[in-house]
Amino acid sequence: MNALLPALKAELLKNRHASIVWVTFVAFALAPVMGGVFILILREPEIMAQSSALRAKAQLMDFSTDWPSYLGLLTQAVGVGGVLVFGFVASWLFGREHSDGTAKDLLALPTSRTAILNAKFIVYGLWCLALAVSNLAVGTLLGTLLQLPAPDLPLLRHQLPIYALTTLLTAVLGTPLAFFALWGKGYLAPLGFVALTLVFAQVIAATGFGSYFPWSVPGLFSGLGGGNALPTGSYLLLLLTSLAGYGATLFYWNHADHTK
């Protein structure tokens, strides 16, 4: 803990002026905005008649102009879009040190290499949490402005934990990306991995085996497959993937030859 606090302060300092922070928040706000557009279209028959593609999409998603539908959309955005945006955050946080050439300056310090990585993981977790909260806040604001019928308490009690758990399940998948960022010495390897997992997540989920592919699990849990219940093995597999990613990251950072 003695070493973690200065490492955390240093990590927060590093991100002080990073424009990438705002880019991720803007990107993540697209989902609630899109939900708001669906609500507008479904409410206005004239616009609905002109926007056949969006109407078809809204109907395909079984979207209706109420809070359960809107919160469901936001949750699914975290489960699917989060893999991309959280993945982008992890790629940047861990890959930037090599891209900026500063990795070599972090390896012979009184603050241990492990503490520096743990500080990065904490900042990553906080960043993902802030994105999820902002997604919810923008959604709440838009839903209120669009005068959706007032939500009832049982709905919130049911939907908010699913939202929180979807965020957690998506965020913990960032650890393998940290490894790829260090191993690939930059952003490219982890971003390539994110793109691959997104494609595979869609294909594997479509074939019905998504519950056994960790990167499909958050999306399925969020309700994309029609329900939230998944076999216990799905969560275990996801947890093992995350732990393996964390372990590999620590091992590589502590034991590999740092030639760049």
């Binding site: 070599k104 012979a108 310090l109 009184p110 034991h255 030639t259």
Partner: protein, 302 residues
């Protein structure tokens, strides 16, 4: 106590033997200059000294402590490896604040004092990405000096600096040594290293070819007296008759390597004038470090 010691340090990358059995010892207060061509193994060696690369064989000792994952004296070591790097969106002050935290320092006045010492005051709030190469190098040096280390490991510390900056760094290193620090620096700028180092190590193809003090270097440098007259072959015959070691070089000048001639060149001038070979030019030529270095690595048995 030796500040730095390596024993048979060896590192291989695939088929390439980057560092081959290097053993060096650096005493407190020394400025140890490490000379080598690009790719000779200098940076690999410095990275091994910092634990960034694990040797295949051999050990590193810093302050008599064996370098391992448990080594805990990193605040006694400052370093600058290859090109200086900084967080591009952070200012000079903010970049230093990052390392102030990571080095767990407790002296808030240290950053402004260091910025002043390295003449970065004008750029204190300039983002690193907008700094010139020379000022990026100063920022790199500031990071290395932030915690007032006992040992400085510097890889090409004068890269990108203008002549004034080079002189400042030289004076800075000498001042640090006067205050009790030890410096280990690598460079391919041989003239610069010759001015600052108290001891030199020459590395070639991963091997330590020669290690010598500044005094030993001075003794080993080739010296000769270069003389030119209107009739150099005639002057050559005359000087040879008098017992001097003399030859005609490729430029058809007389080269005299006789130690007595080097000590008293005025005697050569006097003899030549008396014999009717008045010198048109006469000067002492001394091999510089660059030529010495090339002679050493070229004459080395394969």
């Amino acid at each position: 106590m030796e500040v730095l010691r390596t024993h048979s340090l060896t590192k291989r990358f695939g088929p390439t033997l980057a560092v081959d059995g290097i053993s060096i010892r650096v005493q407190p207060g020394e400025i140890y200059g490490f000379l080598g061509l690009n790719g000779a193994g200098k940076t690999t060696l410095i990275r091994m000294l910092l634990g960034l690369i694990r040797p295949d064989q051999g050990e590193v000792y810093l302050f008599e402590k064996k370098l391992s994952a448990r080594f805990d004296a990193w605040n006694d070591v400052g370093y600058l490896v290859e090109t200086p790097a900084a967080y591009p969106d952070l200012s000079v002050v903010e970049n230093l604040q990052v390392y102030y935290q990571l080095r767990r320092l407790k002296d808030p006045k240290r950053i402004p004092a260091l910025i002043d010492q390295l003449k970065l005051g004008t750029y204190a709030h300039t983002k690193a990405k907008n700094l010139s190469l020379g000022n990026q190098q100063r920022l790199g040096l500031a990071k290395a000096l932030l915690h007032q280390p006992q040992l400085l490991l510097l890889d090409e510390p004068t890269n990108g600096l203008d002549p004034e900056g080079i002189v400042e760094v030289r004076q800075l290193l000498q001042a640090l040594v006067a205050q009790g620090a030890t410096v280990f620096l690598s460079s391919h700028i041989l003239g610069e290293i010759a001015k600052v180092a108290t001891r030199l190590g020459i590395i070639h193809e991963g091997r330590l070819v020669q290690e010598l003090t500044n005094q030993e270097l001075t003794q080993r440098l080739h010296r000769k007296l270069i003389v030119s007259t209107l009739d150099n072959p005639g002057a050559l015959r005359q000087l040879s008759t008098l017992g001097y070691q003399v030859r005609l070089n490729e430029a058809n000048e007389l080269e005299i390597t006789d130690p007595t001639a080097l000590e008293q060149p005025e005697k050569i001038a006097q003899v030549l004038v008396e014999k009717g070979y008045s010198p048109r030019q006469l000067y002492r030529w001394e091999e510089d470090l660059e030529r010495y270095f090339l002679r050493i690595i070229r004459n080395r048995p394969a």
